[in-house]
């Protein structure tokens, strides 16, 4: 896989975009035709908003990628998510939603923080395992098995987006 994209080690901490809820709602409407109420979700390097429709139903999660991340990397994430959903079923994967013509809800959008890559992923019900506090050995074992399944499913994934970096890591700094 050719080099390109983001080296997490070289960048260190990546401050996430800080777009307002009102702006997120405007972006969802203008670029993805989603009339929604946005709710800020916790995020580290990206900024995430849960989008809800008029009846409060979840429509998806608007993700505004860190400004250090480009379109090719998000395209790779979209394809990897699609592959995981296909290979890991019935495991649910937060795949990128598609529009009426089947194209992913993906766009480079002008924001108050400059141009950012935005996409809308499927909202998954439930809660993160971190939310549950104590995890029994059986659950931790299942977590490990799922991690292995994900690794297997991505084994032969190829896309020019992500780059190899961790094998050389801080030595390249």
């Amino acid at each position: 896989m050719p080099a390109g994209g983001l080296d997490f080690f070289a960048h260190g901490a990546l401050p996430a975009p800080r777009v307002s809820v009102a702006e997120a709602q405007r972006l969802a409407g203008e670029h993805f035709d989603l009339e929604a109420t946005a709710q800020a979700l916790g995020s580290q390097q990206d900024q995430n908003f849960l989008l809800r429709g008029g009846a409060g139903e979840p429509l998806g999660v608007l993700k505004l990628a860190n400004r250090a991340i480009g379109l090719a990397e998000i395209e790779a994430q979209i394809l990897a998510g699609k592959r995981l959903a296909q290979r890991l079923a019935p495991v649910c994967v937060a795949t990128t939603l598609t529009g009426p013509e089947g194209a992913p809800l993906l766009a480079t959008v002008a924001t108050s923080e400059g141009p950012l890559v935005a996409h809308v992923v499927r909202y998954l019900p439930g809660s993160t395992l971190a939310h549950h506090g104590y995890l029994s050995p059986r659950v931790v074992s299942a977590l490990g098995a799922l991690a292995a399944q994900v690794s297997d499913a991505l084994d032969d994934f190829t896309h020019p987006g992500p780059r190899a970096h961790a094998a050389v890591g801080p030595a390249s700094r």
Binding site: F8, L124, L129, P162, H165, A167
Partner: protein
């Protein structure tokens, strides 16, 4: 990357030295390590239990934001059965 957040100066320096030694060992064989794409952030923050009731069970995957290419676990010492693409051989076999 996180070592700057360790408050004790002695421990911070020790960790920095240890990580440099560890990375130098990896760098020496980096060209021979098998690489593969991976999620690389499969923590309890990115694995969901989608069933609202009962015992939690990991059946949902979110956030491919750290999708990257890195070493295949069995190539890296010490191998961990939980994250390996191929299961570690059982000591009973």
């Amino acid at each position: 990357m996180l070592v700057e957040h360790v408050p004790q100066p002695d421990l911070r320096e020790q960790l920095r030295r240890d990580s440099q030694v560890a990375w130098s060992r990896i760098a020496a064989v980096a060209g021979e390590l098998a690489l593969q794409p991976g999620h690389f952030d499969l923590t309890d923050e990115n694995l969901l239990s989608t069933c609202p009731h009962g015992v939690p069970f990991p059946d949902g995957v979110i956030d491919l934001g750290d999708l990257s290419v890195s070493g295949v676990c069995p190539s890296l010492p010490p191998p961990s059965p939980r994250c390996c693409t191929t299961p570690a051989p059982s000591p009973l076999l």
